[in-house]
């Protein structure tokens, strides 16, 4: 298993809940790192070669859209899969994010099974 996941969410309890769901598809402790906002996520990516980012949008310091815009300006992250995990529902804003090039959306509230499925697909794991 070579999937490495960076969870970017300002909610510590949700990060742990997502980490738990990922463990159930074989993505275990050392292959999952966390960041509480976009700026911390950019710094984490310099140390941790993630293959998938699970990205919240509504965060302090640097929000998910700012993070995604910055990420897409850096050629070294061109192939990095990004799944947006959000309460956002505005069709115009979601379209704008979609145009930035993302792998998928997961709407909060979600069931653990939903996360396992979309993360498994993004990482190329058999379901």
């Amino acid at each position: 298993m070579n999937g490495k996941v960076l969870i970017v969410d300002d909610s510590p309890i949700l990060r742990r809940s997502m980490r738990r769901a990922l463990e159930q598809i074989g993505v275990t402790g050392e292959d999952v790192h966390e960041a509480g906002h976009g700026q911390a996520a950019l710094e984490e990516l310099e140390r941790f070669p993630a293959t998938l980012v699970l990205l919240d949008l509504n965060m302090p310091v640097m929000n998910g859209e700012e993070f995604l815009t910055e990420l897409k300006n850096r050629p070294e992250y061109r192939d990095l899969a990004v799944v947006i995990v959000t309460t956002e529902s505005n069709s115009g804003r979601l379209m704008r994010l979609s145009n930035l090039g993302i792998t998928g959306f997961l709407h909060k509230p979600f069931e653990p099974e939903d996360l396992r499925e979309i993360a498994g697909q993004a990482l190329g794991l058999a379901s």
């Binding site: 300002d10 309890i13 809940s17 309460t87 529902s89 909060k108 509230p109 979600f110 069931e111």
Partner: protein
């Protein structure tokens, strides 16, 4: 539809029930909040749009938040810390807030949600606020939407 008058209690109850069941398998039933009940913890999240802005407050009993955090984390309730109870309520405010602004028209109108935060108590009640309460096997959760 950025109009608080269109936010009915039934819709708020549906949002609470669906959110809790999806994220943590917590099953709830509607409840009339007893007038003398004072929940242990509170969290809020603000919202604004061109036509409407306000705050959404969530209040819950410790025992309810123990069940919620326990299910989110996959640990026994007696292993849930005080901090984790707060975190569970704050994240629930974020999720419920997101669903409530959809009910107010956020899919089409430009709504913005603030960051959820814990608060020590609730402000005075206003005539325009909207409320709903649910109970699980373990305790009570109350939501209140206050326009500004």
């Amino acid at each position: 539809m950025s109009n608080l008058e269109e936010l009915y209690e039934d819709r708020m109850l549906e949002i609470l029930a669906t959110s809790l069941e999806r994220i943590a398998f917590v099953v709830t039933d509607p409840l009339d909040l007893p007038p003398d009940h004072d929940p242990d913890r509170h969290a809020s999240i603000s919202f604004d749009s061109e036509g409407l802005c306000g705050d959404i407050y969530l209040s819950a009993d410790d025992i309810f938040l123990g069940e919620l955090a326990s299910n989110l984390l996959g640990v026994d309730e007696d292993e849930v810390s005080d901090e984790e109870r707060h975190q569970a309520l704050t994240e629930l405010a974020n999720i419920v807030g997101g669903e409530i602004i959809v009910a107010l028209g956020a899919a089409e109108d430009d709504f913005r949600l603030g960051l959820p935060q814990r608060v020590e108590g609730l402000p005075s009640e206003s005539g325009e606020m909207r409320c709903a309460s649910v109970e699980s096997d373990s305790g009570l959760l109350h939501v209140r939407v206050d326009p500004r």
